[in-house]
């Protein structure tokens, strides 16, 4: 009974947040950001325990893994369209993911973060569902990593395009790739609004970053750990 009610409320809240976002499509009104903030506030105010909430919302959580597999479909569709740029996109995603992981590691070492937190910050250049999976396998705190990724996405959604123009990057394709790798789903949404080509490149770059992160981040993390220790 409770589980059904919790699912109804969570899905209902998400649908309302999506409707709000459709009327005012600003990255600051991102539906996930709004939903997580509201549910967190409700839990804090009512004293309802998170593990109880999570148990009850497992039916929703169950769809996350199939949804990640489903990303193969848009990847395949885009692959047939932008075959010629595919290798460059793989390289861009590889560099973006590596830069992100190495920089985050260096900053964690510099600021003397403990190992839990360091492993939480290793996979921030991927969309949040994937961050959850990778961070979990690295022994970090998945939900904190996901929250970081969402906020990075919001930052990129608000400032990304302006920043790229400031850097003299003019082709919509290049802007899309940069947004997809660095600012994931929210960056991709911004790219889609800006230009259809930017959107297509962003979504492929985002999915490629996810695949590359899954294979490369654990290896890179081990290398960095052995270098530093």
């Amino acid at each position: 009974m409770t589980s059904i009610l919790v699912c109804i409320l969570t899905i209902g809240l998400f649908l309302v947040a999506r409707q709000v976002y459709k009327s005012w499509p600003s990255p600051l009104l991102n539906p996930v950001l709004i939903c997580i903030t509201i549910i967190t506030l409700v839990l804090l105010l009512t004293g309802y325990k998170y593990p109880t909430y999570f148990q009850a919302s497992i039916p929703i959580d169950w769809f996350l893994e199939p949804a990640v597999v489903a990303l193969a479909y848009p990847l395949y569709q885009q692959y047939t369209h932008i075959k010629s740029a595919f290798k460059l996109l793989i390289f861009c995603a590889f560099i973006g993911v590596s830069v992100s992981t190495i920089f985050a590691y260096a900053l964690c070492v510099f600021m003397q973060a403990d190992s839990d937190l360091t492993s939480t910050m290793m996979a921030l250049s991927v969309t949040s569902p994937i961050t959850l999976l990778i961070t979990e396998s690295l022994g970090g705190v998945p939900s904190v990593a996901a929250a970081m990724v969402i906020l990075i996405g919001v930052f990129g959604g608000v400032f990304g395009l302006k920043l790229l123009t400031l850097l003299n990057i003019s082709q919509p394709q290049a802007k899309g790739v940069a947004l997809g790798v660095s600012c994931h789903a929210i960056g991709t949404a911004a790219a889609m609004e800006y230009h259809p080509l930017a959107g297509a490149f962003a979504s492929v770059a985002m999915i490629l970053s996810a695949i590359i992160s899954a294979f490369w981040v654990p290896i890179l993390f081990t290398i960095l750990n052995s270098l530093y220790a």
Binding site: V32, D61, A67, Y76, L88, L107, L179, L197
Partner: protein, 117 residues
Amino acid sequence: MEKFNYIIGMFYVLICLYSAKMLILLTGLNIPAPLVGLIILFLLLKGRILAPQRLAATCQSLIAYMALFFIPVGVGFIEHLQLIAQHKLLILSLLFLLPCLVLFSVGKLAAKGKYRD
């Protein structure tokens, strides 16, 4: 007939996910299974073993609502407020510096490409 495509598509998606989990169990690799499942499904599509139409409805709706599916885990950061408060400075610096740095490096690199419109 149309609406049954959701179930047919889900059937294939779950087969890919399960195969990926088996593969990881057998090899002991430390890679999230859904990403391996993604690659399996991509290869099945690319190798024309699966027709894309069979997956269109399921995949498009799963992806359209992907954001909803990670809300339950996403709220979990509530259990780690202390950790976040302890490392405010590190977290805030990463939030600003990381996207700028990656936007810069990937943007400059991608701008070197020649794109056919």
